[in-house]
Symmetry: C2
Subunit: 335 residues, 2 copies
């Protein structure tokens, strides 16, 4: 990625929370490549996909603070002096949010509120980009879903992520802190833990397709998803951070190609080239209760205000993703 | 109150959380009068308006458990066997939610999620009525505000109360628990602490009007509010609890008479008859930042599904309220 916005970050002090995880570590690699000075705050919560190996190749250039983002002992020093904060930390499993709801609330809402309070006390001028989720909308009333669509989350994770996001926007309005939020759709790409279920269907598809195991799609597989390559997400976060007009705003990130889950499964299987079969299976009850049907995000606000649009199509992106995991086999053999 | 819905609760086991507070204690008095068997769960959080004196006259008929509603030691025994749960506990100060946001999150969201988890484990068939707030809507886009109006809270309290409410509705949808929620507007009446600022403008108006002190209205005083007498709120809660169709639903409670803050101040001053003056003053910055402008709730859904509408007008209700505080002077002299 050779983006002018990114290269403008050379020498600047950045914090990436959740920087040992999937999206966070890709952010770190991009920032280090651009010459930024990077501090990572990550609690390495088990089963959330974070791992020090995600920083392989850049670890010597990054200062890692192993702490929850709400930790008032470790975090003030880590954020003091930072110009840009990419706040990616969070619990992503919808299913786990239903089995351990208090933990999800703590990780996705309470810690973020505590983090904002730390920033307010120690570095209120830092620009903060929070990664929220399309899950805040719940079951769409119309497609594509724009930012004015009512929020009506269908699971604990969605409720907690919405609260975490709203705290960020509130701190812009009320405390004048330069914060904004991006509502992400399904993200795929390198450095995602493939062996932990509950991180979404994409890593499961990738893992099974590469192993030649059949892919299961729930129901008729007709639900649409607008999958995003993580490089496009990283670029959106950088653009949001360097755009003054973004302060206090929330932006959808989406993709113009809405594909059915069945199409996504077939494209992944084809790209893997391992003879993988795709089958539809009935919905498990626990997941049917929190399913949202089809989704496609309207990202015209991000296009207009940030100059962002996705550059990677799924066919190309999934091929690059599989190539990465072929070169880095431990993602498929170890959590 | 001699309502058939209320008399139908004779002999039934009820839990009132926050039952030592303003709305909760009025609920308790009504339930005891109807012959229900009442357990109160209340943490008596300082400065939140709860006091054992609110149960004067019925204390011998009520079992009081002094605990946070999320307390896994004390609460399981308190809720086991209950048929109806009126979940009124909460932190109500918008201003305090901005100065101590983590505490507000704990009291309005985290404790409620923990309470629902306790109910799910120990009494998932209990009917639960949660008291939410119009604050979840934020600054209205149109009036009157119906339940489809987008939620966009303007302060930490609103974000947290929304999360707490959404957890209740989610537990109905996903776990099949018979829960529902009522979004309350400004409530006044007996047994409200008058000496604690931050519980809303009404108790401040009542206290000052009775003392002959001038009433201050921010800005031009033109913002509309549809104030509800607590008796109307209690009746709505009972109706929601005994209406099977209410499960999983959220209902606005509102009043057809939307009055300006200036009118409310003048009516209160006139009713007090102490020569109280009313003046408009500039908005304090901290409050202006989280003000929502005019509000009136559309309660037609509650009318249609619960058979509820308010019975008490402000002029009559505030006169009765002042009469109560004349007879119970400690509310004006001691917190």
């Amino acid at each position: 990625m050779d983006d002018p916005a990114l290269t403008s970050l050379a020498g600047r002090r950045c914090v990436v929370t959740g920087g040992l995880g999937f999206i966070g570590s890709n952010m770190v690699h991009a920032l280090v490549a651009a010459g930024a000075r990077v501090t990572v705050i990550d609690a390495l919560v088990p089963q959330h996909g974070g791992h020090e190996r995600n920083l392989a190749g850049v670890a010597d250039d990054v200062h890692v603070v192993r702490a929850d983002i709400g930790d008032t002992t470790a975090v003030p020093d880590a954020v003091r002096g930072a110009e840009l904060v990419f706040n990616v930390a969070g619990q992503v499993s919808h299913h786990e949010s239903m089995t351990d709801p208090l933990r999800d609330l703590d990780l996705n809402a309470r810690s973020h509120l505590a983090f904002l309070e730390i920033l307010r006390a120690h570095n209120p001028r830092a620009t903060v980009v929070h990664t929220s989720t399309r899950q805040v909308y719940g079951r769409p009333r119309y497609l594509p879903v724009d930012e004015d669509h009512p929020t009506a989350p269908v699971d604990v994770n969605g409720i907690d992520k919405l609260a975490g996001e709203q705290f960020h926007l509130l701190y812009a309005r009320v405390h004048g802190m330069p914060t904004c939020a991006l509502r992400l759709t399904n993200v795929y790409g390198p450095r995602q833990s493939l062996l932990i279920d509950g991180l979404g269907f994409l890593p499961v598809f990738v893992r099974r397709a590469m192993a030649g195991q059949p892919l299961s799609v729930y129901g008729d597989g007709g639900q649409l998803r607008d999958c995003l390559h993580v490089d496009d997400v990283v670029r959106a976060m950088v653009l949001a951070a360097v755009t003054p007009e973004a302060v206090g705003e929330v932006f959808n990130l989406g993709h113009p190609d809405a594909l059915s889950l069945l199409q996504i499964a077939h494209l992944t299987a084809d790209a893997a080239g391992a003879g993988t079969q795709v089958a539809t299976v009935p919905w498990p009850d626990a997941l049917a209760a929190i399913d949202i049907g089809s989704f496609q995000g309207d990202y015209s606000k991000a296009k207009r205000m940030l100059g962002w649009e996705p550059a990677v199509g799924f066919r190309d992106g999934i091929a690059r993703t599989l190539a990465y995991y072929r070169e880095h086999p431990w993602y498929r053999s170890s959590t």
